[in-house]
């Protein structure tokens, strides 16, 4: 029986950006949204920047609905919200949205985009990872626990089913695995440090890259199950000097010493496998007594290192709702690329860690801030840089948001009137499920996303819109409109259903003229008018 002795060694030099002392940060007892607004405001003032006005109610409910549950609000919801004089209406709306099943479906899908293995372009996972994520979000599972579950999946536990799909597809490519773990959980893309110390970033050396890889290199996949060897090292040839054996080192420089270094990693051959595994045996081999991967999770979550995971999830959530990170790009969190608001990032990271990595709490805090509810319109000739958060960012709708919203917009708004939350969610769920066809024809947005002419061609010349969205079935908006005698009223209902607002006089006139000109065939007239609404940027973007 081998005894392994472990010593956790703190390195003499601190390699991650210095953490601001608690005394430099706003008090921990403040509300998230207040700290956000204070800090954003402070930097704007220091740079003589004026923020945009607050967005109006109709914009706010649309934005919240898209950001939280992944679809536009129905017209009755919009009208009710706009008409309400309740000073707490926004908080109540946020709570209602977060409590709805659509929230966990949408946020789970967003996490799946972030964490899922995108084989080659379009390939998404089996859906098992997304199912896991949806389930985890539904019970507001803490992020550190989700991290642990994805890194050390226990397939016998029902609640962790699917979590293994984060690791599994990546194991065959250890470099990919190393980088994806670093990017997704720590906001650090060290792939360039594979071949040389990063030319600009002192934080990222080959030691860091191979240090991370060492935690993961003992993991293997065989016959669909994951196992881990009890020992083995990664050797690498640095740019200068002889071949080195990598030490297990976390991105902060924390090194894990292990008594018995063992022999270099080999691919498992028959006979060299951990004893319990037999070919064809789908039961996962039991974890070795020293699990390097488990050590990574432990080290990452230690208080002195947890800054990385906390800051990274804060940045991700911030980016998701504000459209631009506090650190940009998302995978370049290092000392040469400081946050636009370092105190804010630190405070939010501390807050999230102190409150058990409660994601809903963080989300709620962000979307209740005044910063979040700024308008995307500005009078300024040259608007301030995105990093000031002085103007709301336009966010292109994701394929699912776009298709689901289009399904909802093309239904008669009267069918949404007076629904219970459960019944409303059923309709939204039905819309989501029936919109996969169109969603598959639209690209998932990334940073600096461009919409290609292919999308415009699909929307212009494919019959999918006509067949699946602009049909005149029961409960459809089209069926309602074609029997509407008053063209102006019809146009108004149409615009309200799509855009949540009344048309401007110019729009009303142009749309009415279009429809009237085609009075011989009102169905077709409204159908083509709806096309224009479906493809206009106001529908295409979250503003």
């Amino acid at each position: 029986m081998r005894t392994l002795c472990l010593a956790l060694a703190m390195t003499a030099f601190w390699l991650s950006p210095p953490v601001l002392a608690a005394a430099d940060l706003p008090p921990a007892s403040l509300a998230i949204f207040d700290v956000i607004d204070q800090q954003i405001d402070h930097v704007m003032k220091a740079n003589d920047i004026k923020p945009a006005a607050q967005a109006d109610d109709r914009t706010i409910i649309r934005r919240l609905s898209l950001d939280l549950i992944g679809s536009i609000p129905t017209l009755p919801e919009v009208e009710a919200y706009a008409a309400s004089t309740d000073p707490q209406k926004r908080g109540k709306l946020v709570d209602r949205l977060i409590a709805s099943p659509a929230y966990s479906r949408y946020q789970g899908a967003q996490f799946d985009v972030m964490l899922g293995y995108a084989g080659s372009g379009r390939n998404r996972g089996t859906g098992a990872l997304r199912d896991y994520l949806v389930g985890a979000i539904a019970e507001n599972r803490p992020w550190d626990r989700m991290f642990r579950e994805m890194m050390l999946p226990n397939e016998s536990e029902a609640k962790q089913k699917g979590a293994i799909e984060f690791l599994k597809p990546r194991i065959a490519d250890q470099d990919r695995l190393t980088n994806d773990v670093s990017v997704n959980f720590f906001g650090v893309n060290v792939s360039c440090a594979q071949c040389h110390d990063h030319p600009l970033v002192k934080d990222w050396t080959q030691d860091h890259y191979f240090g991370m890889k060492s935690f993961l290199a003992r993991t293997f996949e065989k016959n669909g199950v994951i196992g881990e060897q009890p020992s083995g090292v990664v050797k690498f040839k640095p740019n200068k000097g002889p071949e080195k054996t990598a030490k297990m080192m976390f991105l902060t420089g924390t090194i894990v010493e292990e008594g018995n270094q063992g022999s270099p990693i080999e691919k498992p051959k028959p006979g060299k496998n951990p004893p319990k595994e037999k070919p064809g045996d789908k039961v996962a081999p039991s974890a070795p007594s020293f699990s390097a991967r488990a050590k990574l999770v432990d080290v990452a979550l230690q208080p002195e290192n947890a800054d990385l995971i906390a800051r990274s999830i804060v940045n991700r959530i911030w980016h998701r709702f504000l459209g631009y990170g506090l650190v940009a790009p998302l995978d370049q969190m290092h000392s040469e690329n400081p946050a636009s608001h370092p105190e804010l990032l630190e405070w939010l990271a501390r807050d999230v860690a102190t409150h058990k990595y409660d994601l809903n709490r963080l989300v709620r805090g962000v979307v209740l801030s005044k910063t979040y509810s700024l308008s995307s319109k500005t009078d300024s000739e040259s608007p301030p840089g995105a990093q000031y958060f002085a103007v709301a960012q336009l966010k292109p709708l994701t394929p699912l948001q776009l298709a689901t919203s289009l399904k909802l917009a093309t239904q008669d708004p009267a069918t949404f009137h007076g629904l219970s939350p459960a019944d409303l969610d059923k309709k939204i769920d039905a819309a989501e499920k029936s919109s996969r066809g169109l969603a598959n024809l639209v690209a998932q947005p990334t940073d600096d996303f461009q919409i290609g002419v292919g999308e415009a061609l699909v929307f212009s010349n494919s019959d999918i819109l006509t067949r699946e969205y602009l049909a005149e079935g029961k409960d459809s908006l089209l069926a309602k409109l074609k029997s509407e005698k008053d063209v102006k009223a019809g146009v108004e209902l149409m615009v309200k259903s799509f855009l949540g607002r009344a048309p401007t006089p110019v729009e009303s006139e142009a749309l009415a003229a279009f429809v009237t000109k085609r009075s011989a065939n009102p169905t077709e007239a409204y159908r083509q008018a709806m096309w224009a609404l479906a493809t206009c940027p106001e529908f295409r973007f979250n503003y």
């Binding site: 080659s120 190393t178 292109p396 919409i451 415009a456 010349n461 729009e507 224009a532 940027p537 106001e538």
Partner: protein, 430 residues
Amino acid sequence: MLKNFCGSPEHSVNRRAFLGSTLGTAAAMTGLNALAEPALAAELKKTQKRVILLWLAGGASQLETFDPKPGAATGGPFRAIPTDVPGTHISELMPQMAKRMKNTLVIRGLNTKIADHGGAAKIMMRGRRDEAGIRYPDLGAVMAREMARADSQVPDYVTFYTQTEGRGMAPGDPGFLGARFGPMELTTNNTPDFIRKLESVSVLDHKERADLRDLLSKQFVKGRSLGETLGSHNEAYERVRGIMASEKLFDINQEPEKVRDRYGKSQFGQQALIARRLVEAGVPFVRVGRAWWDSHGQNFETHAEMVPELDHVMTTLIDDLKERGLSNDVMIVTLAEFGRTPTINASLGRDHFASAWSMTMTGGKAKGGAVWGKSDPKGATIVDQEVNASSLFATIYSALGINPHKNYYLGSRPVPLVNPGTEVIEDVIA
């Protein structure tokens, strides 16, 4: 999109000339025939470089094409024939190319190491392998980015891959350059999907609803910053009608029978003709995939059938482009994911081989008649002037007038077109 408009007077002339023939009337829907407008065609001839990539999917054998080893144990049954370049011999299966080698640069020194279809195809379309954190753009996307006009009314990157074998292994990919520079992929037929108006929508409706969309868009854009994404959305719709109008470019029946006969009835030939039409109208990059060269068995039968077809199509293209005065501006490239083993296996086939293989470039600034790289007498290794994927691409870019060391930017990270330290093979640039 004004953001990308370089402001050069040449480009504004082009834009007006182009749009002049498509704006306004419903008749515009019936199509742009840029090729029939001599002034326009003349303009195009002056400006940008374009590429037709003949992608020999599956890996054509260099021993049965451009680097024969007759008499060697690995040479196979075919002879080598002299060409119009003294000292250069190619396979007897390419008699027509033998008379055009002085227009063609052959690189025989390719050693690209990777010999699985998927991985190798990715590398040979990009000139490098993807890193864990970066998806690089392929040659087509780079050409689209470098050469396409902002408001271009033709597609920028077209790829034909009609056979089913290997299709999924080598899709076009704009990588981090984004969808704007992604390929128009033609897999089931020779006309792009969704390029034709639906029967159920009248010409008038198609136009007037787009006008409505425009109006709604103007209202939205007022007071909002026209960033990359919002701009691209509008630009995509602005381009639709032009792209739809370019439908005729994909129709070979627009060509006189004489020309069609010249290219022949094969699908490869027809697609090459379409490629010529496309580049002539200003499309920067067209890939014509011809599958499936993966002759693990019956290598010689396969090549006896496919190489003469390649010979014919390639020479027709070379001659046709020359007659149209496009040889300087349009480069024809033959390339694949790898070559084939000198060793002949038990099924009389050759297997994947990336250690010593060949490619060609004709046109642009590629030096006609030059041969770079030498394989040993059996064809097993490179003995002189070895070329890897990186330096190959640096050379291709250079021959197209593109600086291979220029940077794109991923956020603030500079990403050079080719890996740092890569050298252009200056000797093969005219």
